[in-house]
């Protein structure tokens, strides 16, 4: 029986779920009735009514047992994961947010995916400076304390790596939403508008671009047009109410709302104002989109409207027939999400899902659809529309224009196949 255990990546070690899957796969269940039976409760009967559990009798640990609190030990499977075969070293690599385990639209700080090009810079904020120079009246050097004295803004934004879904261009490759869509996270940032810092230094009218540079050993650098820099960029020092995590750029990171994650330079140490783009490695060799005719798009900064169902998904199979909540996330770098539709038949018919507010611009939006599963196979899809009217495309439409080698900016509709045993698989439709 064990050798027939179905494969679901990062499948949490939940006993109910495994028992269900084992039985489902081995038994080749024909009827939904049998399936519902196998999903019945697990757990230790001694802790269940009419009995009284130990934790209801004896004292628990006192305050300060965890000066900085951590999740329950029963949530130990809720972690970032990477795909080791993707990269040469963990210092230049990526891991993925466990989207299937999350509710709401805020990502807990410790679960925000990581992408580094030279490892995590461990920085003492006392030794960190932000330099602004180039086409400014007065080049300035700021301490982190200086930055915190500027008027602050607090805003929720998603950050998505341009390569999120990059492995899926040719076909369904990775069997898990954590891997197909987990290079996105969404937190509340606290910081100062970049505009105020540029004004403080006396931005010259000849300045049309900035170069943002990190203090890590990759010296991450990206060119950003001045219009964006003056529009909604922030230099952030906090995420979700606490200081940035080291792996997210402590003590300072650039926030470039709606634009590809690589531009959100972490460990931000320098901003140079210039009159042309720099064409650095991350905007030439990388983060350009190769097209079938051999030419490539450059500067495709905006992350266009995208959505995905985060449950059910390969990691979150169906445990039973009957009532279920289909839940997912939608986002757009061009503004607010206006609507999300869900299909159960691979895109033939759609019904509109419920959006859970607040629906904010350039921010993840949670959607749900209440549903009763009859035990028959379904092809699940979600499709979002943003406030500009942009409709999330099918992969075939994207491939038609961009081929299969552009790596970046795959925001196509995702299909999950739910089979009779409740297993969920990443599939490609034709």
């Amino acid at each position: 029986m064990t050798d027939r255990k179905p494969k679901a990546p990062g499948l949490p070690a939940s006993p109910e779920r495994r028992r269900f899957l084992l039985t489902g796969a081995a038994g080749g269940l024909a009827s939904a009735g049998a399936l519902a039976g196998t999903a019945a409760a697990a757990g230790n009967p001694e802790n269940l009514p009419p009995n009284v559990a130990d934790w209801s009798r004896y004292l628990g640990s006192g305050v300060d047992a965890q000066p900085y609190g951590v999740p329950s030990e029963h949530e130990a499977h809720v972690i970032r994961r990477n795909v080791p075969w993707l990269t040469a070293t963990p210092e230049s690599s990526v891991n993925f947010t466990p989207l299937h385990e999350l509710d709401g639209f805020v990502t807990p700080n410790g679960l925000c995916f990581e992408r580094h090009h030279g490892g995590v810079a461990e920085i003492d904020p006392a030794d960190h400076r932000l330099m602004i120079h180039g086409l400014v009246e007065k080049p300035l050097l700021f301490t982190v304390a200086d930055i915190k004295r500027f008027p602050q803004e607090n805003r929720f934004h998603f950050l998505e790596c341009a390569a999120n879904g990059g492995m899926e261009w040719r076909g369904a490759q990775l069997n898990g939403v954590q891997y197909t869509h987990g290079m996105v996270h969404c937190v509340q940032y606290t910081g100062v508008p970049l505009k105020l810092l540029l004004q403080e230094a006396g931005l010259k009218t000849s300045g049309t671009w900035i170069l943002a540079e990190g203090a890590d050993s990759a010296g991450m650098s990206r060119s950003i047009p001045i219009e964006k820099a003056l529009d909604d960029c922030l230099v952030a020092y906090s995420m979700n109410g606490e200081r940035l995590r080291p792996e997210q750029g402590y003590p300072l990171r650039l926030v470039v709302p709606g634009w590809e994650g690589n531009m959100w330079v972490k460990w931000l140490r320098r901003i140079e104002v210039g009159d042309a783009a720099w064409y650095h490695r991350e905007e030439t060799s990388k983060y350009t989109d190769l097209l079938p005719d051999g030419r490539a798009y450059k500067f495709t900064w905006t992350m266009e409207a995208k959505s995905v169902i985060t449950s059910p998904c390969p990691e979150m199979p169906m445990t039973d027939t009957g009532a279920h909540v289909i839940k997912g996330l939608a986002w757009s770098g061009n503004g607010r999400i206006k609507r999300v539709d869900v299909s159960l038949d691979g895109g033939k018919n759609w019904r509109t899902a419920r959006l859970h507010g607040p629906v904010l611009p350039k921010c993840l939006t949670r959607f749900t659809l209440d549903w009763a599963w009859d035990g028959k196979p379904v092809l699940l899809q979600s499709r979002c529309i943003d406030e500009t009217g942009y409709v999330q495309p099918e992969i075939a439409a994207l491939q038609k224009v961009r081929g299969v080698n552009s790596i970046y900016h795959n925001h196509a509709i995702q299909t999950w196949l739910v089979n009779e045993s409740g297993e969920v698989e990443n599939v490609r439709l034709g």
């Binding site: 255990k5 494969k7 990546p9 990062g10 499948l11 070690a13 795909v83 075969w85 040469a88 070293t89 210092e91 030279g118 330099m131 009246e137 300035l140 050097l141 700021f142 004295r149 500027f150 076909g171 369904a172 490759q173 990775l174 069997n175 891997y179 105020l196 403080e200 006396g202 540079e213 050993s217 990759a218 010296g219 140079e272 210039g274 064409y279 650095h280 490695r281 030439t284 060799s285 190769l290 051999g294 030419r295 490539a296 266009e304 539709d341 895109g347 018919n349 759609w350 092809l379 942009y390 409709v391 439409a397 224009v401 196949l417 698989e425 990443n426 599939v427 490609r428 439709l429 034709g430």
Partner: protein, 226 residues
């Protein structure tokens, strides 16, 4: 320490504005307004030495290149010692480390090889990237002359220059990479738009690919052990 100590902090500026509106403190308001650039009085002036130490970026027009030079031959020695372990003796790449040469005319192929020679538009990007980030784990350890030399060698590996070439600040912008004109900016959306269909949108759908067939998804250790 603070070179802008005389400049009003924001709260003060606002208050001065109120005072001015009341017609009581015009002189004070004027002095606040002349606090350009900026107005918050935060940060201090960065000195030319401080800027020079950090401002090492290079642009395609040669802006930012320091004086110096290096030959293909010098570059080969440095490359073999400092780079080849990861990138291979000829830039062919070791293991999963990036390939640095070749892939010529492969961009339209099914499996394109994007390298300095086949894909990168500007040689300045090589100079800039190598001095800021390479060797991996020992960034900023190459001198300017060494960076010129390694860049010259990488250009040679990619058949852009001959083996007796010496790269200098003066001749830098004469180097032209083959794919210089290969990039363009997308003009808005590249997909057709319209109201999305809600009912009977397609006749039939068929599963044509499955992730599980490929079996490349990592599994949890716990599961693998079971």
């Amino acid at each position: 320490m603070c070179a802008w100590a005389s400049v009003a902090v924001p709260k003060l500026t606002t208050r001065l504005g109120v005072v001015a509106a009341l017609g009581l403190g015009l002189a004070l308001a004027a002095s606040a307004a002349s606090a350009e650039p900026g107005g918050f009085g935060l940060g201090r002036a960065a000195t030319p030495e401080e800027i020079a130490g950090w401002d090492v970026d290079v642009r395609p027009d040669g802006t930012g290149l320091p004086p110096g030079e290096g030959s293909v031959q010098e570059g080969e020695e440095i490359y073999l010692e400092r780079c080849a372990a990861c990138h291979g003796e000829f830039g062919e790449g070791a293991g999963r480390y990036p390939v640095l040469m070749g892939g010529f005319d492969s961009l339209e192929e099914d499996r394109p090889e994007k390298t300095i020679g086949s894909y990168w538009p500007y040689a300045s990007t090589v100079w800039d990237y190598v001095q800021r980030a390479m060797p991996f784990g020992e960034a900023r350890s190459l001198s300017d002359d060494e960076t010129y030399a390694v860049t010259a060698f990488l250009l040679y590996l990619n058949e852009v220059v001959e083996d007796d070439f010496v790269l200098t600040r003066e001749n830098f912008t004469e180097v032209r990479l083959p794919n210089r004109d290969g990039f363009f900016m997308r003009d808005g959306s590249d997909l057709p738009s319209g109201e999305p269909c809600m009912k009977d949108c397609k006749a039939a759908v068929e599963v044509i690919g499955r992730a599980r067939t490929l079996d490349v998804t990592p599994e949890d250790e716990q599961q693998a052990l079971e």
